[in-house]
């Protein structure tokens, strides 16, 4: 493939990855920012979003679009409810102690993964996309007769992939409005800044925590529902998003939403471009190396503030 079309294809693939990663990492960052909980089970909430999406579309056998729309709404809600239960039953009882919650969420990770294996089974299942047209992208070249357009082999995307990018932008914008422009956002930010003062001002901190933990899981699940028609639902699919989300959150700065979005686009795009031109392994090596440099030279991340 020539360099130009190749680069366009790489960037399109990178954008799809970046948009899903943005959502997953936003969920992780939100939970850490407000609750100071490092949620190791985050990838499993992502996986559950995909598995629920499969279950819902499989159950609503009618049109693919109706099933998908239902999954888009119901799957994140179910995952959020499950996360709230985890918060009430486990994290609250540990007083949100940073070290103990890490161990507890590792436990949640295994419980969720193994229960999925025991019920949903070890196979990958596809979800039919609501629409999926192949869109060939024209490219130009200079010939003797001047500028000419043609359709290179393989330079294409699908309407569904474009939808994923658009939907992630909308969801990201929604989260920003929620955090920056709403009363609820004010409460969340107040809790994030100083838990005790917030409580003194009458903010029900424990309910805020339960809400945030549910919201973080729901955002990850939403990302998974969007990606499952491209990937397939599988009980082990939570590992990669978890790793990449941690990379993104560390680079962007723990708890900083702006930093998370910038880092997710950076990692997603570079991942896409490097995997296309070189190898996916190199992309992961470079991302991990970047994390190391950020930790050495800018421990709070690109946009983070020092954690007390």
């Amino acid at each position: 493939m020539e360099f130009g079309p190749h680069l366009i294809l790489a960037m399109l693939e990178g954008l799809v990855q970046a948009s899903v990663l943005t959502l997953t990492a936003l969920g992780l960052s939100l939970v850490f920012g407000v609750m100071r909980v490092v949620n190791v089970a985050h990838g499993e909430f992502f996986m559950l979003g995909a598995v629920f999406a499969y279950a819902i579309t499989d159950w609503l056998t009618g049109s693919a679009a109706v099933g998908f729309l239902a999954a888009l709404i119901i799957a994140p809600l179910l995952v959020a409810a499950l996360a709230v239960v985890c918060d009430r039953m486990i994290l609250r009882r540990l007083d949100y102690d940073p070290e103990r919650t890490i161990v507890a969420t590792i436990g949640i990770l295994y419980v969720l993964q193994q229960v999925t294996l025991m019920t949903y089974g070890p196979d990958a299942h596809p979800v039919t996309p609501p629409f999926n047209q192949r869109l060939a992208i024209p490219w130009f070249e200079f010939t003797d007769t001047g500028l000419e357009f043609y359709f290179p082999w393989g330079l294409s995307t699908t309407s569904y992939k474009l939808f994923v990018i658009a939907a992630a932008c909308v969801a990201g914008l929604g989260i920003w409005i929620l955090m920056a422009r709403s009363k609820l956002g004010l409460i969340l930010r107040a809790t994030q800044l100083d838990r005790e003062t917030a409580q003194a001002f009458g903010i029900p901190v424990e309910r805020v925590y339960a809400f945030v933990f549910g919201l973080g899981a729901a955002i990850a699940a939403l990302g998974a529902v969007l990606v499952v028609p491209i990937q397939q639902a599988h009980y082990l699919m939570g590992g990669d998003p978890l790793l990449l989300s941690f990379i993104v959150v560390i680079i962007g700065g723990l708890g900083s939403l702006r930093g998370t979005v910038v880092a997710a686009i950076l990692i997603g795009m570079s991942n896409g471009v490097i995997s296309v031109f070189f190898t996916p392994t190199l992309a992961k090596i470079l991302a991990t190396l970047l994390v190391a440099f950020v930790l050495v030279y800018r421990p709070a991340g690109l946009f983070g503030t020092k954690v007390a």
């Binding site: 493939m1 190749h6 790489a10 082999w153 393989g154 294409s156 397939q232 599988h234």
Partner: protein
Amino acid sequence: MAIKKYLDVQPTRRNVLTGLAATGAATALPGFTPYVQAQSAAPIRIGFQVHRTGIGAAYGRWYDRTTTAAAKVINDAGGINGRPVEIIAEDDGTDPKRGAEVIEKFTTHHKADIAFGTLFSHVVIGSAPRAGELKMPYFVVSEGHHVASGMLNRYTLQPGITDVKSQVQAMAPFVADNLGKKVTMIFPDFAFGHDHRDYFSAAVEAQGGEVVAKIAIPPTETSFTKYFPKIPRNTDVIYHVMVGPAVLTFVKEMGEFFGSSRPEIFGFIDSLEAVDLKTPGLEFLEGTYFWEGNPRYAQANQSEHDKFYRAAVGVDQNGASVSDGKDVSTYAHMFGCWETLHIIKAGMEASGYQGPSDRAKLIEAVEAMTNMPLSQAHPQGAKMFNGKTHQVFGHQYITQVKGGRLELAHTTSIEDTMYPDEVDYTSQSF
């Protein structure tokens, strides 16, 4: 302080007893038995290493069903040497480390007579050395060239399924003569895929063809579009073989990449094992060719043995489960379990196998086997076993997608699949 505490511990009654029990268990190990076991009606215990979880789970499910069906057929016909067969299944998680532990568990915990089973080559390569150390006959159904290459040991045999080297060698003339000379290979990046890469490249070059690109993909990959731009424009034929839970995504994304202007495509059915060919997004495969170890769809020339085998395992005419048409089998591979169990039966009967002390005799009996005619024990077709390399050779099938079904286009001879010996395991001592 802590260390001192441990050192100060006095022997309690409990740990003295545990020690005694361990000594007792050690002397009860097969090697220590000072007497020959008497004729017994106790079951013959076959440890079955199976991919219940991990990336090989779809294969594992069907390997399990085939093995259960074969054991039932053998037991209904009177068992082995008049003794019933008992299958003891253990999940290896499609993980080499766990695989070796499972072999150990069969030997020490389950007291199995032999070990049998698994498919993924990295699990076999991880488990076989332990089987050799424990002197446990290990019958694999794996396809990898690692048995016949001499990499493993005298205790590891592959008598029920052909290996990748002989498969691809038999495919190369068909690909080069009918589809094109310039081939791009897409394969999984582990031992099994490397066998494809190395032996197909050599075989197609011998036919005057050329491999223009070799694209390796990690078997745990979930998104594939990024690999396809590496396919050179001058490619005549795509040769694809993929494994893992994301195979359907792989084939779909390949279709999306090419759109309406695809090159010729030749695939190993591994890329679509356990996947329904009628799944949306696979329409572009119409007219393309597949290697199949055993044709998934019942063919016009179906033998009575295939009919019997299909019914016994519970597979319909389309290669799906009779109880659920969506549950598509791994038909091209799983016959290996059926045939291997029948070979174990034949080997145990020929050697008069009584118990673990006869393990070497069992291996010698299997090594002495040669021709295996098409029969109920060998429903995939006639085979030729090479006792020196511990590897079987047999017919290969090439099918074409026509109307969403795989129709037989070519059957290779057994001779097409033969290559010179690379090892003589019979020269190794037990």
